[in-house]
Symmetry: C2
Subunit: 471 residues, 2 copies
């Protein structure tokens, strides 16, 4: 349909984004094929390749971009400040989670596969399709469409793409400090969160923090035969399970000294706001085969996943794991555990309390090592800003429904880094869905998340440019 | 040194065994190179090859031998009844334990390697070197030496070699029933146990039983991201650790309903006998880097490993086990656990109590499957028999010290099968040592276990033949 009056820059950009879809998907698939698993040293070269690929794309788009080495995985940083005026910094991450258990994938995790879904959607299935390659590309492809349609972006844009988000973002803080003058913008846009539901976009304003730890218990100097030593030899798997079981009571309360310091009860305001969201906790659980909230007794599902701290065991390794049976008493056993933090909980204090809890419960002949993989506090984004109001309006226009202001149970610690090191507010806008199997086998991104995500960013850029984008 | 009088058949056989050593070792190495891991289906052909290799050896020795198929791994059965008179049935097993963790092996587990030890001994390092290929070959090589030296064995010998001992011996019972008339002998000789210490041989007269079980806990229909679901979703690793931790109290007592039914306190006789053994519990633990008995409070090391029942966790699998960290809530988690049984404890009742214990503690949204890998009761061998007296005497002569009558914390369930199905007593004579790393990486057999083991069997055969073996 041709507009009866000169088309606005936004309309042109939206049409260009739609016209680009085939090629945008090709680029998406190319990026998905790169095995950029940041936590596994074997994939170090793949991470570098992903960074180079993104840098090349940004350069082709007219950005002044480069791969910036760090002690860990490299950053990609690019700028297009030709428009002047308002300035946004976009943040995303190109690294992905490991793929195991590999046998549970229906397709090769690094060969993107289109799959029709029962609801008429098309799923793009691959590791990183949702977290975060598809999400970050919605922004890059929006920039492309705008530039192809209008020559220039409507505002200054910097893009920072990290390669260690799944590995604790160890290099990010120092990098932000070193490049502070380059990065300083009006606001940080982050695309690593979920929609409210399949049809309702959301801006996320609160997220839990995360302490990710690993504990290894050692006892005998070698694996022992339980027939010979069983009864007299200390079994580290038994010590480990006893310690882990001691961290949570029957009511789901976490039994770590001082753990609830800084945890606040929901205010009546927040309760009222959340009630308006009409979140269906039963449906949320039913989708993944569950029916009963497993967290602290007497608290609703939404409160449990957004506003309450947790303790989870994310993996245990020890003893014989093959087929059949082996009567071994292993020399050591280890667990990966995590705490989600809310309010003012101090991640350093939680890590220290965990270490003390373990050490206080070690029987004779046992030693423990505790490794901290990540330690970040909960995040709250300011909600009264004009950037937020514009973003909510842009999202509501694209999705033709009121955008939600949403909590999130996960953790995006970089938000705190941008606030603390650069004094910048963040806007968390994401198009992922709850059922994207992020961090699981068969991760997917919906085609509409990708296409409407690109279009949403065009509308957001237009609004944030504050009228400078008119034809 | 030449004897001044006509050499006895035994002396000739002993000299022949010594002369055979080089070739005996070559045969031992050939057998060790066959990867006969019975618990892993991938090694099925290797198990068949090991059986065929053994059958061919027995045939070459003049035995009427063959490989006998079963629904599981095949049996090898051979007879040399040309001597008439006394008749012994030897039992051993050619299957071995899995080798993982492979990276902890200093050498290829299936390429036997000679290693000098600090005490002047030479170790033969390979999976199965001790359990049970080295041990079973001591008997086969003894038969060879006797026949080569004297033409005929001093008594009738049948040899039964199993391929499923490490996998629960599922085919053994039916096979014993089917071949009862072929197998019936005066006594069963079994070579799968330890020496008392490095210089003292032993006949084992009591062994604990074993329930080997696997429990898998399932919750959500797929792995979940702990950021999205953590707090509200049930974590099967948490359920599993809580259940496993609930099975043992702070005093090391096992908290399973009815578990101690049939467990008897040591009689004053047994206590007095064990005191005479002068077992050094501290040294036993120190050898493997431990110092404190970990079993039930108030009981000595020997009692804990021989006469008390145990609960052990032999392996846990669930969640993310790779490098780095993954904030996953796994859909399922599993553990391999075992109970060692003593006295009159009923293995079926223990397995049922474990299943009930798990099921009674499952929270909402969880299911559990419990698989029984093995269930055998404790074993007591009659101690007043002439066979035992002769065997103790033969061992004492070879090792030039009084042989011990020893308990054993492990389990050789086949002993019960021979008693219950064929009405035969067993004599458990073994030349393994406590530090052989059986079921662990770097399993070894001492050269002297092999050489003096062969010589010990020659002396035992001579005594059991009851004078028929004179020159």
């Amino acid at each position: 349909m041709t507009a009866p009056y000169p088309r606005l820059a936004l309309d042109k950009a939206l049409a260009q984004a739609d016209a680009n879809l085939g090629q945008s998907l090709e680029r998406f698939y190319d990026l998905l094929r790169i095995k950029s698993i940041s936590t596994e040293p074997a994939y170090r070269d793949d991470c570098r390749r992903a960074a180079q690929w993104l840098s090349d794309e940004l350069i082709a788009l007219g950005f002044d971009a480069s791969v910036r080495p760090t002690p860990g995985q490299p950053m990609v940083l690019g700028h297009d400040r030709s428009a002047g005026g308002a300035h946004v910094l976009f943040y995303g991450h190109y690294d992905v989670q490991p793929v195991d258990p590999l046998h549970e994938w229906a397709t090769d995790p690094f060969e993107p596969t289109l799959m029709p879904a029962a609801n008429g959607e098309t799923h793009i299935v691959a590791r990183g399709a949702s977290d975060d390659k598809g999400q970050l590309l919605t922004f890059v492809e929006a920039c492309r469409a705008w530039k192809e349609a209008n020559g220039n972006l409507p505002l200054s844009v910097s893009i920072l793409l990290e390669g260690e988000e799944e590995a604790g973002s160890k290099s990010l803080g120092p990098f932000l400090d070193e490049t502070a003058s380059e990065l300083k913008a009006d606001v940080v846009l982050v695309c690593d969160t979920d929609m409210w539901d399949d049809v309702t976009p959301a801006v996320t304003f609160m997220m839990r923090g995360l302490c990710g730890l690993e504990v290894e218990i050692s006892a005998a100097s070698r694996d022992l035969h339980s027939g010979v030593y069983g009864g007299a030899a200390r079994n580290p798997l038994q010590v480990l399970t006893t310690i882990l079981a001691s961290l949570r009571d029957d009511e789901g309360r976490i039994l770590l000294d001082g753990f609830y310091d800084g945890v606040e009860e929901l205010s009546p305001d927040v309760i009222a706001q959340w009630d308006r969201l009409a979140f269906d906790g039963d449906a949320f659980l039913n989708k993944v085969g569950l029916s009963t909230p497993a967290g602290e007794s007497g608290r609703g599902v939404l409160e449990q996943i957004w506003a309450r701290p947790t303790f989870e065991i994310n993996g245990i390794t020890g003893g014989y794991a093959g087929e059949g049976f082996k009567t071994v008493i292993p020399a050591k056993a280890s667990a990966k555990v995590s705490f989600r933090l809310v309010g003012q909980q101090d991640p350093k204090a939680v890590c220290a309390a965990f270490k003390a809890h373990v050490e206080a419960r070690l029987p004779a002949d046992c030693s423990a090592t505790v490794t901290i993989h990540s330690a970040s506090s909960a995040t709250h984004v300011r909600t009264g800003t004009p950037h937020l109001a514009k973003t909510l309006r842009a999202l509501s226009e694209e999705w033709e429904t009121d955008a939600a202001l949403s909590g999130n149970g996960g953790s995006i610690p970089v938000i705190n880094e941008f606030r603390d090191r650069l004094g910048m507010d963040a806007l968390l806008v994401g198009f992922a869905r709850f059922d994207n199997r992020v961090h699981s086998p068969n991760e997917k991104y919906d085609m509409s998340s990708f296409t409407k995500g690109i279009r949403s960013w065009l509308r957001i850029l237009d609004k944030l440019a504050d009228g400078h984008s008119g034809a």
